[in-house]
Each structure stands twice: as structure tokens, then as C-alpha cells.
Amino acid sequence: MIYEKYIRVLYVNLATGKIEIRQREDLYAYLGGVGVASKLLEEEMRADLPPTAPEQPIVFACGAATTIFPVLTKTVAMFVSPLTGELGESYAGGRMALTMFMAGYDAIVVSGKASRPVYLAINTNDVALKDARQLWAQGSDETGRIIREREPGGGKRSIIRIGQAGENGVSFASVCVDTYRHFGRLGLGAIFGSKLLKAISIIGGRNVPIRNFKDYWKTYQDIYKKCTDTDMMAKYHDLGTPINVEPLSVSGGLPTKNLSAGTFEHAGEISGEKFARQNLVRKLACTGCPVGCIHIGQIRREFDKGFEFEAVAVGYDYELIYSLGSFLGIKTTDEILHLIEVVEELGMDAMSAGVVMGWATEAFTKGLVGVEQTLVPLEFGNGPNYAAALRHLAAGTNAFYRDLGRGAAKAAKVYGGEDFAMTIGGNEMPGYHTGYGSLVGAAVGARHSHLCNGGYSIDQSKKEFEINALVDGLFKEEKERCMLNSLIICLFARKVYDRPTIIAALNSIGRPVDDGELTAIAERIYRTKLRIKQKLGFDQNAVKLPKRFFDTVSATGKLDEKVAYEAIRLYTEKTRVLLAADTEVK
């Protein structure tokens, strides 16, 4: 809590209905966000049980300076991932962080399994479990609409919810946050479903006055101006991350048709510019962000015979365009937005959904599976058939789709085709085939995401490749992001929040820190995450990378398997040293 030396945690047990609030002074050293959430996950998780066991916790945490400064907009969710079986960590923007802060909670721990579908309603002075039987089987949008009516409090309210995929235990089911944001990766939605938890509504009414307003306001203004008066964030607002489509395709780093290529011949038709000219109708921002990077595209949908059309607004981003576009050979903006809408409604991680479809398409083409399993013929570029297949996937229509719902790596173990099941550490690949940085970065990243250490960024630095420099760069960035994610900064703004800015910001709100303490916090958090992974049985050196990564030339040339595994080994050695140097009491 701001101005307090403790972390205020709300514990909710869905099985017993017990609700408890604890003020945890011992968590103060973890700053907030991912630091606090990691420690709570380590305390509460059961390494001896499967990820969807009722005893497993879901932990949410907002940051140490959530929404007090610009662009500190995110909430972290931590859990045991049903997709990888190890560390689950996912971030979402929207209003959730603000509402947690205003409701007076730094963190929320949800455990147990409800006896019937429920939603959790959190208000500043009240926490209740409410009947959600009516909501079960409803799509994400409809669930949000109904809860908005039941829980009035617009503006300071956040509603997070699952769709059909989460209810049916798809291992990469997502949780939708305030319509256009998501806890997308690693299957939080399936954990919600396993607990019969359909949604959480949070309404915050608390106000915390700033004590030293002069210092605070100066720091705030400095950060705000960097975000709005310089070019640092301009691209994010103008075209957003879809600006990446064209440069990645030209350089050979755009995963295309299940990464059988790194260049898409129709990249110009699905570029950021094309989306903006053809579909863009609005730009939105998470609460507390002056940038506004959420791009909303509009499509027409025929919902009935007799020329009955409606306009549908869908959020789009680079990762979605890659996974449901180039990766599946889809070559128009409208078709991609249609697929995004399907994934939204069903409540799945768009990246994993696209990548599993890429594997399924190639498995179908190669005869590893037949139409009696896929139910529709899968072929690159066929949007309507992918839409149908995604619905089978969320519904778990047959054994094939239920296997596919466990992720590409597990499906390939059953049906074959592991060489082209494009996963890294069990997580479906991100949209960067840029070189050793992106590949090794995701392999060693705590949650196997491009966001763990920004490896793709190292690839495009134009510096000559040197293995030790790569490993050092990834390790340094992974640690630093543990600290950034304890605040929790939107990583788009990581260049705005350099160390002096962070120190000035925290000092101005009564949390004195110096450079050394920030480094210690970063290491403390990273160690905690590494311990969690160890306890859950993860072995970094056992990670196997699909052969396709080495067959398809990347943006920085053909990758050598031996070099990639050597980089992983060197990185693992660094984590071993970090853990061995741990002298703190746990």
C-alpha cells in the first residue's frame, strides 16, 4: 500500500467461502506486482498437484506505483500453467490495476473450487461470491454485459471473465479484461474454469491523497511529457505494433504458414498501414496511460439472411495479426479481424490458437490426421474453415480437438509432427523469427515469452552476433524486467522508465529506494521465479526446440542448433550462480 510498509492481500477460498485480509510486512521487500505475486505463488502453490487441482492458487497483484504515474497500468496474474505445467505469468491492462488500488488491495489470492459456477464481486468494503450459473456457457462479451448491469460502478469498475474455452479446460484459454485487454498467455482461463469461477468484478472507491504533491507533480510531469511530447511512444499510438508486419516480412522474421517461411507474400495486405486505412475506427488507452495504443478495427458481419449486417469492433495488435494472419496464410485484414473476434468470443489466447492451427494444418496436409479428426479441411489461407476449427477447439468436439486444446507440443506427441509444432518450452512461439535472441530468449525466459527479455530487440540491434554478449544481454534484461514488472510498467514504455526516473517516482510517493536496492529487488524476484520453476520440475537444459526453427532462415540468417543449445546452457549456468548466491531467508 502506498505510504504503508506492508502489502495488503485479499485471500478468497472459493470452496469454503472464507475471505480474509492480511497486511504482510514481509512482502514489502518484493516491492509489488510480479515480486509480490511470485512470493505468494511460491507460498500457496502445490507442486505435488496438477495445475488445475482445486488447491492451486490464482494470484493477482497490481504494482507498487499503479496508475499513480503514467503508463503504470498493468496487473499481473500468476498461477501454475496448465499449458506448460510450470510458471504461469500473464499481464493485462485495462482498468483492473486501478480498481484493485482503489479497492485497497495490492494482491488477491483465489484458491479452492466453488461447488457451482460463481463470480467474485469485490468492492471497497465488501467481498462476495455470487451465483454465475446463468453466465456459464455465455461468451465473454455477454458475460461482461450482464455483470455490468448487476454491479453498477462504471469508470472505477473492472470485469474480467472467461469464455467457453476456459470452461472446457483448453490449456491456453484466456481471461478477458474490460473487453479489449487480456490475461492471454499460458492458460489462466482454464484455471478459472477448473474452479468454476466465471468472472471477477472489482469496484474501487478509495482515494489516497498524495502527501508531497510538489515533488510528485514534478516527477509526474516529466514522465508525462516524455510519453506525449517526444517520439518515444509515437509509433505505439499512431499505427501500434502492427507497424512490425512489413519490416519483419522484408527481413525474413515474420513467421508465415507455420514458419515454413519468414516472409509473407501478402504482408503488404495485412500491414499496420493497411489495417489503419481499411479498418481502424478508434484508439483507446488503459486507465492511467496517456498514449492510447489499443487499436480497434471494424468489420461488417452478416448475422442473418436477408442482408442483415452488423458492425463489429475488434481490437488488433501485431501478435494477433501474425498468429491468425501470416502464420495461417490469411491475406486480408477483414478475415484476420473475423478470426480475432472468434477467438475473443471463445476466450482463447490468440497466439496459441493460431500456432496450434498452424501445426494442425501441416499435420493435415502431411496426412498425420484426417478430415474425420479435423472435421473441416484445414488449408493455409482458408479463414472460414479456421473459424469453424477454432469453435471445435473451444468446444472440445472430439478427441483430436481435445488433444489440440492441450497445446501444439502435446498434440504433436500424440499425432506426430514435433519438428513443426512451433512451441518453445511448451508455449506457442511469439511472432518473431529474428535470430538467436528471439529463440533463445523465449527458451530461457521464465514464462517462455518474447516479453521476458525482449530477445528480438537484441537481434535487430545490428551488432555482430557473439554468444556471450547475447546471453549477458538476455540475462540482464530478464532481471531488470522483474523489477519493472513489480511497479508494473507497461513494457512499451520501458525506455521512459529508466532507473533515475523510477527512483524519483518512488521517492516522491514515500517509497525511498536507490539503485542498489532496485537491483537487489530485481534479483530477489528472479530468484523466486526460478525457485518456483525448479519446484514444479522444470529443467532448462531439457528444453527441446523444434527443428523447423533451424530449417527456416531467420531475419539474421540460418540458425545453428548447436549454438542455440550452447546459449541456453550458458544462460542456465548464470541462473545457477544467481540462485547459489541467495543468502536471504525464504
Partner: protein, 76 residues
């Protein structure tokens, strides 16, 4: 020599380029020289594209080449 500049939409709008146009450059000019002549700061350019293919900034241009500049990849 004359080369053809194809400005990417974003860089063109951000740096007020007038869109696709001809550029007159001295013999021996490179892709980086073309960016300077077009008024684009080198630091803003992630990829130089000469005749449709990724090229190094020091790539020498010749009469009739087309050149395009693309921004850096962004993200979290």
C-alpha cells in the same frame, strides 16, 4: 543518378515526406546517403530496402534503384 524513393506510410507521415518521389544523388551514394537526402534521421530507420530486398545502410546505389525505409520493430 536518379533513384526512386518509396516512403513507408508511417515514416512519411512522421517526417513530413511528400510520398513516393525521385531522388537525385551523386554517383557512389549509399542507402544511408539516400535517407539523409530524403530528410530521414538514420536513427529512425530499422531496415533499408533496396529493390525490394533488405540491404545494409552502406549498400551502394545505382541508377534506377528503388529504395524504401522501414521503421524499427517495436513491442514490449
Amino acid at each position: 543518378m536518379t533513384i526512386r524513393l518509396l516512403a513507408s506510410d508511417w515514416l512519411a507521415s512522421r517526417f513530413r515526406l511528400t510520398g513516393d518521389r525521385e531522388l537525385e544523388l551523386p554517383e557512389g551514394a549509399s542507402a544511408a546517403d539516400a535517407a539523409q537526402a530524403a530528410g530521414l534521421p538514420e536513427a529512425e530507420i530499422g531496415i533499408h530496402v533496396v529493390n525490394g530486398a533488405k540491404a545494409a545502410p552502406e549498400t551502394l546505389l545505382k541508377e534506377g534503384d528503388t529504395i524504401k525505409f522501414l521503421p524499427w520493430i517495436i513491442g514490449g
